[in-house]
């Protein structure tokens, strides 16, 4: 049975008159196989085959898909959609037997790069295929290199509504002619990530990693259930690690006072952090109340199973030494959210030529990344700005920046660092 462990980190003490409770919940999968998993896995591959893919990109993509097909374990199922102006199901869902792999590879060989980009039609085909195995771990990979056609926008919105909760989708943009915002909208709704593949020859390694992660999943359709007391309001609920995903608007409300946030599938030893910010009715000094009860709910064949629970408390105090302390995890992830926001707004300002604002915001990002030891983000920032002083965040904008580097920074700005243990981070000021 898959065991989930939920732990809440917070400073429950709040001053009189205050009505906001912040908490970080760490959810970790412990233990082995079982609950909620039929053991079945379906991998969907959607490859952009529009005209812009012509040349090196389509060759690399085709090669990568062929290799991916070879890697599939025999007990997994898969299908392939070639995406142009319409979605073309070139290989319908089948078990990954050597025989069907051969057929799939023959089908891949026929792919030609031609036509436009209407992502909604691609997703529609995938949705049909995934509907065959509703209890399986359902993972889709979407590879594109360009922008969605303008006329497809409203259709895409409606299609995302239909696909939400039906499968998960990792989006990859190859090259630099695609829009981060657009793919992020898709991957966000479909509980995946968006990333850039700067060169076509890197597609294969990326696909391999996505497949590895998908095959590692054990439980699908896990919801994060948050109960809050009468008269309270959830200001936000965000996944904050491994990357920032705002789930606030994504809640379903099965009952009053209860919000269910989708978290998708979970794999072995996976661990994620969530940040809750709850507005409660202000209490009197000495009052103690439950501001939230967070649990994980696994649905198997229509039956809900609550698998872990943690409590978020609020205790009103007039002792300032207690109420002014900020939990180090809450502080850390508040900082990481600020870091992501500084990068996104900084790049936006840079894009519209507002260099002063861009310098200030990206400088702040450099400082925040340094303070929180987010080395991956620091490295990406250094490709866009010349760092003079990391601690103070003094930077100069680089004049010549590869578009791919700016896009990589933008797509990966939401990747957070995990909090350092105090014994491995003697310089940490989060304590």
């Amino acid at each position: 049975m898959t065991q989930f462990k939920a732990e809440v980190f917070q400073n429950a003490y709040i001053p009189q008159g205050a009505d906001e409770v912040n908490a970080i919940m760490t959810v970790t999968v412990e233990g082995g196989l079982g609950l909620g998993s039929s053991g079945e896995k379906v991998i969907g591959i959607i490859c952009d085959t529009s005209g812009s893919m012509e040349g090196g990109k389509i060759h690399a993509a085709k090669d990568a898909i062929v290799r991916l097909v070879w890697l599939l374990p025999a007990d997994a199922s898969f299908f392939i959609v070639a995406g142009g102006e319409t979605g073309d199901l070139i290989f319908p869902i089948a078990k990954a037997t050597p025989e069907s792999k051969q057929r799939a590879i023959a089908a891949i060989k026929t792919i030609k790069a031609i036509g436009g980009t209407c992502i909604s039609t691609w997703l529609a085909k995938a949705l049909e295929q995934f509907a065959v195995a509703p209890n399986a771990i359902r993972q889709c990979i979407l590879l594109t290199d360009g922008e969605n056609e303008k006329q497809d926008e409203p259709l895409l919105g409606a299609m995302l509504n239909a696909c939400e909760g039906q499968f998960q989708c990792e989006c990859r943009g190859v090259g630099s002619d695609w829009k981060v915002e657009e793919l992020r909208k898709i991957s966000g709704r479909l509980l995946g990530s968006t990333d850039i593949i700067t060169r076509p020859d890197l597609i294969e390694a990326d696909f391999r990693e996505i497949l590895q992660r998908a095959l590692n999943k054990e439980v699908s359709d896990v919801a994060l259930r948050l109960w809050t007391p009468l008269g309270s309001r959830v200001r936000f609920c965000k996944q904050v690690s491994p990357d920032i995903v705002d789930l606030t608007g994504r809640a379903r409300q099965p009952k009053p006072q209860i919000q269910d946030y989708p978290t998708g599938a979970w794999g072995k030893a996976e661990s994620r952090d969530y940040h809750f910010c709850i507005e409660v009715k202000s209490g009197e000094v000495g009052d103690e109340m439950l501001a939230g009860r967070a649990s994980l709910v696994v649905t198997t064949g229509g039956v809900e199973n609550k698998v872990a629970e943690a409590r978020i408390l609020a205790v009103w105090t007039d002792d300032e030494s207690k109420s002014t302390r900020i939990d180090r995890r809450v502080a850390h992830y508040t900082g990481q959210a600020e870091l992501a926001q500084s990068i996104q707004e900084g790049l936006e300002a840079r894009g519209r030529g507002d260099d002063d604002v861009a310098t200030a915001l990206l400088g702040k990002a450099v400082r925040l990344a340094h303070e929180s030891r987010n080395e991956a983000t620091t490295k990406l920032l250094r490709k866009v700005v010349e760092v003079e002083n990391e601690e103070q965040g003094t930077v100069r904008l680089k004049r010549l920046v590869a578009k791919e580097d700016a896009m990589a920074l933008e797509t990966r700005s939401t990747k957070t660092s995990r909090i350092q243990r105090p014994d491995t981070a003697p310089g940490s000021n989060q304590e």
């Binding site: 109340m289 501001a291 009860r293 409590r311």
Partner: protein
């Protein structure tokens, strides 16, 4: 699950915090039980005694439980082997006297009407004992301490000199020797 009532009056399905308003639940009162002896209703789960017959719900007896049945006793005896060369002969056929140490302070000494000294442990037969020689005092936790009051000839506890004006805890079976040949043994006694 039985419905529980939260401090604000909501029906809660949770036992720790109210499932409606989140208020901390106070532990629900245990169901009232009747007195096993006279079958009168017990007032509340905290009530120690039956209001009608005085049944003690904890001990199952009637009335207040008896206090711990134990007290201290001091036995005065003459031990001729304690005699020194300067001492007069020890009185023969001295029958040991047992004194119950009921009081907070028990003076060891020789009585004097003139000086209004009336020791609880009176050792008039031994003229090497000071009028105010020593005190045996009860401590808060029902123990005893010995304090030599700066006596002329000193006090020994289990054969060693007791420091004057210091409180020394006593235990069951301790022997206090003083004067020419007087020995006081302290003991805890049941009943």
């Amino acid at each position: 699950m039985p419905q529980l009532l939260c401090p604000k009056g909501h029906d809660s399905s949770e036992q720790d915090f109210c499932s409606v308003c989140g208020a901390k639940m106070v532990s629900p009162p245990a169901p009232a039980q009747n007195c096993p002896d006279c079958n009168a209703a017990r007032e509340s789960a905290e009530a120690a005694f039956c209001q009608d017959c005085g049944y003690n719900f904890t001990t199952g007896l009637h009335g207040e439980p008896k206090p711990a049945a134990q007290h201290w006793e001091a036995t005065i005896a003459v031990d001729a082997s304690l005699r020194t060369d300067e001492s007069p002969a020890a009185p023969e056929a001295f029958q040991p006297i047992a004194i119950r140490l009921d009081r907070e302070n028990n003076l060891i000494g020789r009585g004097s009407d003139k000086r209004a000294i009336f020791p609880e442990i009176s050792l008039d037969f031994d003229d090497a004992v000071s009028h105010r020689h020593a005190l045996i005092m009860r401590t808060e936790n029902a123990g005893l301490v010995l304090r030599d009051l700066g006596s002329a000839n000193g006090t020994k506890l289990n054969g060693s000199d007791a420091q004057p004006l210091a409180d020394i805890p006593l235990k069951d079976g301790d022997r206090i020797t003083l004067g020419h040949w007087t020995r006081i043994t302290v003991r805890t006694v049941a009943g």
